[in-house]
């Protein structure tokens, strides 16, 4: 079943074209990786899915981008609901300067869940899902900024899970982390793909090969090739993809 459906979708920053007429369908469940050289529009495309680009001055979209049957760039769409259903994890860990507890409780509280025991339950399950529970269960009141980088990023994942999204967008979630922390996050992603549709932008081709089921290759704002990961990495049909995979450019 298709959950995200882009049709001739383009995105501009002012007059600069960042995403050029991309059409691709992403199915429910599994991990979809988006790879490509720097500045190829992969992050811009990802950030269009939950309209995070609204925060960037002069950003403007064309074409359709449908998530869960609703056009994201429809004027009448409820951004709050959209973002609740499409969670996001960012390039650099960005916990709030609050306690670990408050970080994860932020989303549920916005939705009106304020009962302490209900929150406790959510926080425990989210932290367990993010494989962070054992490390922080005794210091939930501690500032999130006291955690290490890798822990902070897992906390951000836990925080995103707390709003019970269907889709989880990850924008190079490991680029600011060391190899050990990266390994943990990758394990986590593989574990999460049973329950969530994950779209991950990555710079690291090995990472895409390790964790994703399908891979899209972007170049200069265009979608060059989109297929099963195994096929992309073994027998790509487009010569540009092959050149990139084999490290001749990018």
């Amino acid at each position: 079943m298709t959950i995200i459906q882009a049709d001739n979708f383009s995105l501009y920053y002012g007059s600069k074209l960042a995403v050029n007429r991309v059409s691709m369908d992403i199915d429910t469940g599994g991990v979809t990786a988006i790879i490509g050289p720097s500045g190829c529009g992969k992050s811009s495309f990802l950030r269009s899915i939950n309209r995070m680009n609204d925060l960037i001055p002069n950003a403007r979209a064309e074409g359709t981008l449908i998530v869960d049957g609703k056009n994201v760039y429809d004027k009448r769409i409820d951004l709050v609901m959209l973002r609740r259903h499409v969670g996001m994890v960012f390039q650099r860990p960005n916990p709030f300067p609050k306690s670990i507890f408050d970080n994860i409780a932020y989303g549920p509280r916005l939705q009106g869940i304020r009962n302490r025991s209900a929150l406790n339950g959510i926080i425990e399950s989210c932290l367990k899902s993010a494989a962070l529970w054992d490390e922080v269960k005794d210091s939930l009141a501690k500032s999130a900024l006291a955690l290490s980088g890798g822990q902070q990023q897992r906390l951000c994942i836990a925080r995103a899970l707390a709003t019970q999204p269907g889709v989880l967008l990850m924008d190079e979630p490991c680029s600011a982390l060391d190899p050990i922390a990266t390994g943990k996050i990758e394990e986590l992603i593989v574990a999460l793909k049973e329950r969530y549709t994950i779209v991950i932008v990555t710079h690291n081709m090995q990472q895409a090969a390790r964790i994703s089921d399908r891979t899209a290759f972007f170049c200069l704002g265009e979608l060059i090739e989109y297929d099963d990961t195994i096929k992309i990495f073994t027998t790509p049909s487009n010569p540009q993809t092959e050149a990139y995979i084999t490290g001749r450019f990018g």
Binding site: P57, F90, F96, P97, L110, R114, R159, A162
Partner: protein, 867 residues
């Protein structure tokens, strides 16, 4: 490798930089030293009295120095100002950082900076000239200068400062954390209130403290707007009493210093008490400054967040919210969140609109009235004035024009002469100047009798007496007596003393005299035409010698002549007087049903009908307004000496501040290590930046005036201002030197240059544009300051004395003149365009300098970015 030269240079830089510390210590030391007589002579009782008594009676016997009401005054205006300024400031900062498009923000930000630079005396001027009458007339306050007025103006003044600092704090939080919040489905209001504001709370607190410091240290606005009466509600701790006190006048600490120094002899207890007030201000601002340092430092290491009691407290406070959310249900909650978000956005936009509206309301009227000082309909009187005073204009043409006008005025003067038996005092004055030496006194007495005769018989008797003096026919007094006799012989002389029908408190004589005064002038008030004969009137003050310079003033006089203000008693049914009401009546009506009614009516009609012929108004551009000196009270002429004085004092002060400023900045960037001494130096600089300007005035008085120059003068003022602008210069210079790319230095050092040579040949030249920004900002700050000059330099009027040593003369400056014209002079009231013109010039002067600085900085930033 360190050479001897570099070692000496380092020592020189370090010692010079430490001078700044010395300055701060000297300020504290001398203010304390001068407070000592007050603090020590009266024992503890005096100190207890100072902090517990509300009575501030320094001139009583024995004097009472209770400062409680002064503290209350300072606190009341500050608290009310902050109640308005803090929410508006923070919401405006949010609107700027999170709501308006990027391009709009790029315009708003320097604009806010500009507004923060407007001199406080301009706000004080606005308060006293525009807000006070409004409060008094439209809102029924007993007096327009009160807590409310001062608080509103202080708030408008403090908002730009708060916005500027708070916006830096809020936008400094960065996009990442905002994205995190939005991606979790938070609305904008929720993101700002729950994430952005808590994360930037130290910066916002610093903004609030800065705004408070600006309000509490402000002198001119509160001095001009708060009423200056040491008031304090008995129950000052009760909110309702305090709110009721909004309409009362109060006296703040700063205003007390400014107002009392002049009345406190040099070594008196009174003056020492004022220094004590200054000391308290100094200590207070220093404490605030330390607090800010502490807050910003603490947030830098972001303390862990694991206090259990804090969590419990939060839980308790959020219970009502929990219940409310529960009651709303999930659909209700969604609605509520959306509505709340919209409301918050609206409120923020409202704030920023309000901010600009308030400032527009201040600036626009000043400029609107001020422009008339330069572009206006000029009367022949102004042309004549320029010709006689400055030898400007074509003499022949002006004289000819004036002759034509005199011709047009002749009928009016003739009618006045014919009616002048009503109030013959000018005849008496004329005769007393003419009377012959030998018989002068007797003759004059006889002439006086003639003039004061109240009936035909008396007149005849008096006239016969004069005839008996045996004067020849050409004698001036004799001719005058004849002339008067001829006029008066047919008049109803008894009319003079009778009360007028409409206003029984005025006699016909007084009513006529009013008309004559308004037409021909008397000292201290202007007139519509001036004296009938100009020759021989050179000794008269300009407001009597000349008619109005502007056609609008003439119109105003005309209105005053046409309509008389009459106090009409209102009575109840039994005829008891309840209250008197001022009303305007047609002046001709005052003379209704008397023999002179027709004459008066004709006089007024002629005056109105032919006024343009009498004054020949013509549109003109008076560009020399900025160069000409003025007559007393700025009744006529320009603001040349004030503008020159302002420019001189500003330039001189930057000249003093610059070397010390640049060397200190260079020391801080290039050589200072991060140790206690450096931190102390930085603390001293920020303390200096926070010292209230009136305290600089006290310091200048105690050190520079009393110890060095001996009297207020240009040099003393410039030195005082140099200390005040020193932190501005240091900060901008430091920024500029720091902005020079490290690679430049490395290149120079790599080529074998020592640290000193690197600085002189590479770093310093590269930072010059940035330092220039600092120079301009320093000049503009010095130009706008008033309080430090009150006791060190300023005089109300008069130009520079030619030939004397300029540095050791008191100097007129724009800022002080603006204050003086607003509060002191009745003459200035008649020519508001000159008042507003002067203030508008001051604002323009400061704003243009700031625009130059901002443009320059924008250019530098662009270049550093490689554009």
């Amino acid at each position: 490798m360190k050479t001897i030269r570099d070692f000496i240079a380092f020592q020189l830089f370090a010692r010079t930089a430490n001078l700044v510390m010395l300055v701060v210590v000297a300020i504290f030391g001398f203010i304390l030293y001068r407070s000592l007589p007050f603090l020590t002579t009266g024992g503890t009782e005096r100190i207890i009295e100072a902090f517990t008594s509300r009575q501030w009676f320094p001139d009583a016997e024995p004097p009472v120095f209770g400062m409680l009401s002064l503290f209350y005054g300072s606190c009341a205006v500050t608290v009310f100002a902050m109640l308005f300024a803090v929410p508006v400031g923070i919401l405006s900062a949010i609107a700027m950082s999170d709501m308006v498009p990027f391009s709009v923000r790029q315009i708003l930000k320097p604009f806010i900076e500009l507004l923060a630079a407007i001199p406080s005396v301009a706000f004080g001027f606005f308060a006293i000239k525009i807000v006070a009458p409004l409060l008094q007339e439209s809102f029924g306050f007993a007096s327009g200068t009160n807590v409310l007025n001062a608080a509103v103006i202080l708030a408008i003044m403090a908002v730009p400062t708060i916005v500027s600092v708070a916006e830096d704090a809020v936008s400094g939080i960065g996009r990442e954390i905002r994205e995190a919040s939005y991606s979790l489905g938070a609305t904008r209001a929720e993101t700002i209130l729950q994430v952005v504001l808590p994360a930037s709370r130290s910066g916002i607190l610093a903004a609030v403290i800065l705004g408070t410091m600006r309000a509490i240290g402000e002198t001119m606005v509160v001095w001009m707007a708060a009423g200056n009466a040491a008031n304090m509600p008995t129950a000052w701790y009760r909110v309702d009493q305090v709110i009721l006190g909004l309409g009362d006048a109060v006296r703040t600490m700063t205003a007390t210093i400014a107002g009392d120094i002049g009345e406190a002899p040099a070594d008196s207890l009174h003056r020492s008490a004022l220094f004590t007030v200054g000391l308290l201000l100094l200590v207070f601002t220093f404490a605030m400054n330390l607090l800010t340092e502490f807050i910003t430092k603490r947030s830098a290491n972001r303390a862990a967040y694991d206090r259990y009691w804090l969590l419990c407290l939060k839980e308790i406070f959020s219970t009502p919210k929990t219940i409310f959310f529960h009651l709303l249900g999930s659909r209700g909650l969604t609605m509520f969140r959306r509505i709340f978000d919209t409301l918050f956005t609206l409120l923020s936009f409202l704030s920023i609109t309000l901010l600009f509206l308030a400032l527009a309301v201040v600036i626009i009227p000043i400029f609107k009235s001020g422009i008339e000082a330069v572009v206006f309909q000029e009367t022949v009187e102004h042309r004549l004035f320029l010709l006689e005073k400055f030898r400007r204009g074509e003499s022949r043409i002006v004289q000819e024009e004036f002759r034509e006008c005199s011709e047009a005025r002749r009928p009016v003067y003739a009618r006045l002469r014919n009616l002048s038996w009503l109030a013959p005092d000018d005849w008496i004055a004329e005769a007393s100047q003419l009377g012959r030496e030998t018989k002068k006194r007797r003759l004059n007495r006889a002439f006086r009798d003639l003039c004061e005769a109240n009936s035909k018989e008396d007149l005849q008797v008096a006239f016969d007496k004069i005839e008996k003096f045996n004067l020849d026919k050409t004698d001036a007094v004799f001719q005058l007596a004849h002339e008067y006799y001829n006029i008066a012989v047919n008049a109803d002389l008894s009319l003079r003393g009778k009360p007028t029908v409409i206003d029984p408190s005025t006699s016909y004589a007084a009513a006529f005299k009013q008309i004559r005064t308004l037409i021909t002038g008397v000292e201290g008030t202007g007139c519509i035409l001036g004296p009938p004969a100009r020759d021989g009137s050179e000794h008269l003050p300009p407001e009597v010698r000349y008619g109005p310079a502007h056609w609008t003033t003439a119109q105003k006089f005309l209105k005053q002549i046409r309509y008389a203000a009459v106090w009409k008693p209102r009575t109840d049914d039994n005829g008891n007087i309840l209250q008197s009401e001022k009303m305007l009546v047609n002046r001709a009506l005052l003379f209704e049903k008397t023999a002179v009614a027709a004459d008066i009516q004709a006089l007024l009609d002629e005056l109105e009908h032919d006024l343009d012929k009498m004054l020949k108004p013509r549109w003109t551009f008076y560009g020399n307004y900025f160069f000409d000196s003025a007559t007393a009270g700025h009744y006529m002429g320009g603001i040349g000496p004030e503008l020159l004085g302002t420019a001189l004092i500003a330039l001189l002060s930057i000249l003093f501040a610059l070397p010390l400023g640049i060397i200190t900045a260079a020391y801080l960037v290039e050589t200072a290590k991060d140790n206690t001494a450096t931190r102390l130096l930085r603390l001293c600089i920020s303390t200096l930046a926070g010292v209230p300007s009136i305290v600089f005035g006290l310091f200048g008085l105690a050190i520079i005036v009393e110890l060095i120059t001996g009297k207020p003068c240009l040099l003393a003022g410039a030195l005082t201002l140099a200390l005040l602008i020193l932190p501005v210069v240091i900060r901008t210079a430091e920024e500029a030197i720091r902005a020079v790319p490290q690679t430049y230095r490395e290149a120079a050092i790599g080529l074998g240059a020592g640290p000193l040579w690197t600085f002189i040949s590479v770093t310093f030249p590269a930072s010059l544009p940035g330092i220039l920004t600092g120079i301009i900002l320093g000049i503009s700050r010095a130009a706008g300051e008033t309080a430090p000059l009150l006791f060190t330099c300023a005089v109300a009027s008069g130009g520079f004395v030619a030939g004397s040593n300029l540095l050791f003369q008191p100097t007129p400056v724009l800022s002080y003149a603006a204050y003086d014209m607003a509060v002191g002079d009745r003459l200035a009231e008649i020519v508001p365009y000159n008042q507003f013109g002067l203030v508008a010039t001051l604002i323009l002067f400061v704003l243009l300098l700031n625009i130059a600085a901002i443009t320059l900085r924008a250019g530098i930033t662009a270049r550093l970015r490689g554009a």
